[in-house]
Amino acid sequence: MATPVNSKFLVGIFDDDDVVLKAVREVRESGVRIHEVYTPFPIHGLDVALGHPRSRLGIAAFMFGLTGCITALLLMSYTEKFDWPMVVGGKDSFSFPIYIPITFELTVLFTALGMVATFIISNNMGPTVKPLMFDLRTTDNKFAMAIDLEKNSLQETAIESILKQSGAAEVNVKQF
């Protein structure tokens, strides 16, 4: 999410997850563009209601896993077959079945680390990142719907009444 600078936001605060989910649909139907919704816990179907595209994290995870798998196989076959062939336990220096455990472990390791790194980078997260908090209570018990006024043609008061109608407990103005 790109950091909006000098933008004026209208922030609707909701008390309930079901209300906010319904409100998202209503607000979008009335032609208002929602910047983003902030919640203390995941709400199923909220990303769909907001029209966010499906995450491609799974593809990234698969690619990392494949990298781990190939790395392990190349490492073991190179060292055992070409670099320093050795017969252990009467088995051929290249014995594929015996490579399965380590191949599996490295696949899992690469998948996990790669996917988590992708997650952190794609969300613009990091230890020094100062998050853009529309309301500090959204990590506790409130749900905030942020609407960028500059990206909406409707008047501020009109949007405010739409938010109120769809169940917002309060509507605040936030400037970044």
Binding site: Y38, D47, L109, N123, T139, D140, G167
Partner: protein
């Protein structure tokens, strides 16, 4: 309509709201350490200091300070290693396997159980480094080119598989646990009053903002992490069991080992989770989150896995006779009636008989019984590993090398060290990080207690959450 509803009690009792969850869990993170915590931490830290001195002495003098001899070359070190790794498995089972099975009760206990996993694996790893004798050579276990002075590692050895399995398991568990902590750390960050804690929790929460897009990705990531952790946890104890099963020692050379070890690992791990949870819920006043139903569910898993372990013991014995191999039969008869009969029967009593008591509802919902039996199970599981390792080794093919193993002060102290390490780490976790996953509990708090058909406005919050006549089966 809500016919089945009255049968099931809500997962979170006491009519908690979202704000209550935050308040109840953050209380101990934000407040001053309690007296109980300070006393427990002081004891653990002292045990750790004593244990560290003994471990240092073990490394300084060499493994001769242990009671090992040329017949029994593995004893308490590997017993403790397998025991700790096994304990770790319950955390991953709760966080990954139960997530895939959509068991909502796991949300209250998964955080602490995963922390237990990580610390248990740390303890297990300490025994790996200890039994090396020269831990500064530990890098020899890594695949490094021959120019480092040794050959490439032997990729055909289960001990090398272990290096990969344990380190992958540790890393993935740590990442899984930490990513689960991030939203909760953000909650603490946003509540923090002092500048220092805002800075520390701010850095740890990685700038989490809880946007819908982040949550969607987060859920997706958790699902994939659970999906890969599930086969991972099974692979770890499978590989640990192969350290034994791929050898040709009677009593070790058994194809039943992988499933038998995995079941045993989950069995002992859940017993340890029970012990920790029963203390945490009282000390941190979290009885509404870790309810009798949680304790009962975990006891059911203990009974199931305990029974699997029991069947495995009997199968092993039967196959020893059925194989017709006299060495194999002897190994098993010697276990039950040889000089280590007491260890074998301690194992049988603790692991096969004691979990069967949980068939009684009174026992499996009793806090005292659960605590006592969980300790008994962990004693039994320690003996299981001792029986497998020491009694299989102490009688060689050559009767002139038959020997007994006598633990020395350093065998015992190095084991005590691991308790000091485990509890010191766990108490630090319990004080400075949220022991219950707030975000996940908030997500189930409504659906677990009820599901209203018209789920929107007009209904007061307290009413909706507390009403016990509605139930989670509806969804």
């Amino acid at each position: 309509m809500h016919i089945t509803s009255a049968v099931r009690t809500p997962l979170v009792s006491g009519g908690k709201t979202y704000a209550d969850v935050t308040e109840d869990v953050c209380r101990q993170v934000e407040g001053k350490p309690t007296r109980e915590w300070t006393i427990a931490f002081t004891i653990s830290a002292l045990v750790l200091v004593y244990g560290s001195a003994c471990v240092f002495y073990t490394w300084w003098e060499g493994l001769g300070v242990w009671g090992l001899n040329k017949t029994v070359g593995w004893a308490w070190d590997i017993t403790n290693f397998v025991w700790w790794v096994g304990i770790g498995h319950a955390g991953t089972l709760i966080s990954a396997i139960l997530l895939l099975f959509r068991q909502k009760w796991r949300t209250s206990v998964n955080r602490a159980a995963e922390a237990m996993t990580i610390f248990a694996v740390v303890c297990a790893a300490m025994f790996i480094f200890m039994h090396m004798g020269r831990p500064w050579m530990a890098y020899w276990a890594l695949p490094l080119p021959n120019t480092f002075g040794s050959l490439w590692v032997n990729f055909k050895s289960p001990l090398v598989w272990d290096v990969f399995a344990i380190s992958t398991y540790f890393t993935v568990s740590l990442v899984f646990w930490y990513m689960g902590l991030v939203p909760d750390l953000a909650t603490i960050r946003d509540r923090a009053r002092s500048k220092v804690s805002r800075y520390i929790y701010g850095a740890l929460s990685l700038g989490w903002n809880g946007s819908a897009k982040t949550w969607a990705r987060y859920e997706y990531m958790s699902l994939i992490l659970a999906g890969i952790s599930t086969p991972l946890v099974l692979s770890v104890h499978t590989i640990v069991s192969m350290d034994f099963a791929t050898s040709v020692i009677p009593g070790w050379h058994t194809t039943i080992f992988p499933p038998y070890f995995v079941a045993g690992a989950i069995f002992s791990g859940f017993a340890m989770v029970q012990n920790l949870m029963l203390i945490i819920r009282v000390v941190f006043k979290l009885e509404d989150y870790i309810t009798t139903e949680h304790i009962e569910s975990m006891n059911k898993i203990i009974t199931l896995t305990g029974s699997i372990v029991g069947v495995a013991y009997i199968t092993e014995f039967f196959i020893a006779w059925y194989s017709g191999s006299e060495f194999e039969s002897y190994a098993f008869i010697n276990r039950a009636s040889g000089p280590y009969w007491w260890a074998y029967w301690a194992m049988m009593t603790c692991n096969v008989i004691s979990p069967q008591l949980f068939w009684s509802k009174t026992i499996r919902t009793s806090v005292v019984w659960t605590f006592v039996l969980s300790v008994v199970v962990n004693i039994g599981m320690w003996f299981e590993r001792f029986v497998i390792i020491v009694t299989s080794l102490h009688r060689d093919y050559l009767p002139s090398s038959w020997a007994m193993f006598h633990p020395t002060l350093f065998d015992i102290s190095d084991y005590i060290f691991s308790f000091g390490l485990f509890f010191t780490l766990f108490l630090l976790f319990a004080k400075f990080l949220p022991v219950v996953n707030m975000a996940e509990v908030k997500a189930i708090i409504k659906s677990s207690s009820e599901k209203l058909p018209q789920s929107v406005s007009g209904v007061a919050k307290g009413e909706r959450v507390t009403n016990p006549t509605f139930n989670k089966n509806v969804d």
